[in-house]
Symmetry: C2
């Protein structure tokens, strides 16, 4: 791209040539990103002040994620595309030599290198309480289609398959970057969640640390293993399958359910029936079934209300060199819309105390998600 | 109140008689609340389906938090009031004999009683993965003034003092309820945060468990003590005071600052200079200074943008019988507004991975909060 960012096309064969040149006069990408460790919350916070001025809900003719047209160059130089991935122009994380250097060494436990907690052991008293470092990560955009008005739920199974292939490819590539500890592929959809571009797209964050959520899950799994001997993800999936009351989709290779203790009005977790640590490790049969399973779930969220529900969906995968023994690949999808005209807000109890109150019982949410499943549900 | 809820008036002397009768024909309060344990996230989730239909942004003449007028009975039977506290009609938590019984026994560690984690040790394999129990808690509303159009920042120091006295009193009373483990006094303000009643008021949640946030802070403090020998809160406050670059308010007894690794666009933490575990333990001098300090901070949030910033503010206090050795009473106040016309949304990275990206550096936020401090700032 004109400012030095990388762009990668994914096409079904026969792949067209992708030689179009980015004709824009963009300044070289110059962003600064910083990490600071919040010791009270045991987590890193990312700072990216250049994001403050990013564009917000441009008119369709100015959409930067549509293909380029004569006189209207966009982020994608080609005049059409299937799936395309490129570096975010307003990234929360950047990969800089300084950042990579500061975090080289691997490991994310206290005293380790990359993503390391500034050790309380590293200094006496107040030493190390105000630590930060350069960033070492990358943020990418994944455009699903050149059709501006489509959504993930509208894609063909073949296109969804291509998107998944792109996510597998990018996950593996990004984990090779020095300093990167974890890759998160996700999608924000809907104006209510603050999406700045309505064009159908997902995002990939390559974090230079293991995220707090993943650390929490892995700690819970380790504790469970010590106490019960089994795998927490396996046993939880088995318990949901046995109960059945919250299951939304059950195929030969996948199970999607509203978790017993879901935190959001409508929340679905989707697991392969046989545990794997990441998308790349899915066996052929599960991989082949995945596009239909995803379209089924996303379709239900699209039909839940008068208008398609805003949502966040994301793939949980094992971080680099950690947790592949215990971690279970799964998708989590949620909407914070709780009725046609009502949203769930994260107010005092949630934002201040991490204590979630949910107005909709998981069984009620599951019943509604099952009820809206008929139209367009693909066969097994 | 007509439906059996409790209401408590707080008045400066000479206290007027408070004998007005609730004339409304309200059905007896019948709500169900349930707790479920999310083992993957090691936290309880509260379910309260009766909240789904609570009133939303009523017109001022229908405000249920204004005093009653002839023909317009409200939640407060009197025709005027100073500070009044009553049970929330749409509570996320209720106190029921069943709930209290289920959680009696105290302690919140695995295998304990109240707020206990359903022990993985309690059953083999998938046993205990789908556990829940009745609730044992209480939600209260704190009206600051009978002036519908005021805000906390508009109150007189005397009124703020009365509000604090009410919070001290309610905290102590609620911790006496069987099953209650922690009391959280907070305020949500602004339509953007989903506030359903614009009348100036705060809330009190009496949780039947120690919240995830408090557990995290106490664990961090314990780890810090093991490694460094000091108190994490003390050392962090000292480090912020020494650095000075993020300090907003510094008086003889209080320090307010934007934390080194803040997660929100504008976030202020306010600590007494000498650590105490809760509001009730504040020494006289610190207690006397608190109203002016709070009015200073809240005033800055009110002047930060074209219109008063929406905010969440909350008091962190030690839970019952736990953490009073390490825990530091403090107020946390935040706004998710990042510019006059822009909000910070918790999208994929935050909601999915608990990994926060912040567009505004803490030093920049501190500088802006300092700059808007002159108008109406009380003297020390």
């Amino acid at each position: 791209m004109a400012d030095g960012r990388e762009i990668i096309y994914y096409d079904l064969p026969p792949a067209p040539p992708r030689a179009a040149v980015d004709s824009r006069d963009l300044p070289l990408l110059s962003v600064s990103s910083e990490l600071r460790y919040n010791r009270l919350l045991s987590s890193w916070v990312m700072y990216a002040s250049h994001r403050q001025d990013r564009s917000y809900l441009p008119a369709q003719e100015d959409c930067p994620l549509c293909p380029s047209r004569p006189g209207h160059p966009t982020e994608i130089p080609e005049d059409s595309y299937q799936v395309v991935v490129f570096e975010n122009r307003f990234p929360a994380l950047v990969h800089s030599p300084a950042g990579a250097g500061a975090s080289a060494g691997g490991g994310t436990t206290p005293g380790g290198g990359g993503g390391a907690v500034p050790g309380p052991g590293g200094g006496a008293g107040a030493q190390g309480l105000l630590e930060g470092r350069g960033s070492a990560g990358r943020c990418e955009v994944v455009c699903y289609t050149d059709d501006h008005s489509a959504s993930f739920a509208d894609l063909s199974p073949q296109r969804v398959d291509l998107v998944i292939s792109a996510l597998v490819d990018r996950t593996q590539d990004l984990l090779e970057l020095p300093g990167v500890e974890q890759v998160y592929c996700f999608e924000n959809r809907g104006r209510e969640i603050g999406v700045t571009q309505p064009h159908p797209h997902g995002q990939i964050y390559a974090y230079p640390f293991v995220t707090p959520r993943t650390q929490k899950m892995l700690a819970a799994a380790e504790e469970y293993k010590r106490a019960c001997g089994g795998n927490l993800f396996d046993d939880q999936l088995g318990a949901e399958q046995e109960a059945g009351t919250r299951v939304i989709v059950a195929t030969a290779n996948w199970t999607a359910f509203v978790p017993h203790a879901s935190r959001w009005p409508y929340e679905v977790h989707c697991y392969p029936n046989t545990r794997v640590p990441d998308l790349a490790s899915l066996p052929g049969a599960a991989r082949a079934e995945l596009p239909d399973v995803l379209l089924d779930i996303f379709g239900r969220f699209a039909r839940l209300f008068d208008t398609p529900a805003p949502y966040i969906s994301g793939w949980h995968q094992a971080p680099r060199g950690r947790g592949s023994e215990e971690m279970a690949l799964h998708l989590e999808m949620l909407t914070f819309r709780r009725a046609n005209d009502k949203l769930k807000y994260l107010a005092g109890s949630e934002s201040g105390m991490d204590a979630f109150a949910n107005d909709i019982l998981p069984e009620v949410a599951a019943e509604r998600l099952r009820a809206v499943g008929t139209a367009g549900t693909p066969g097994p």
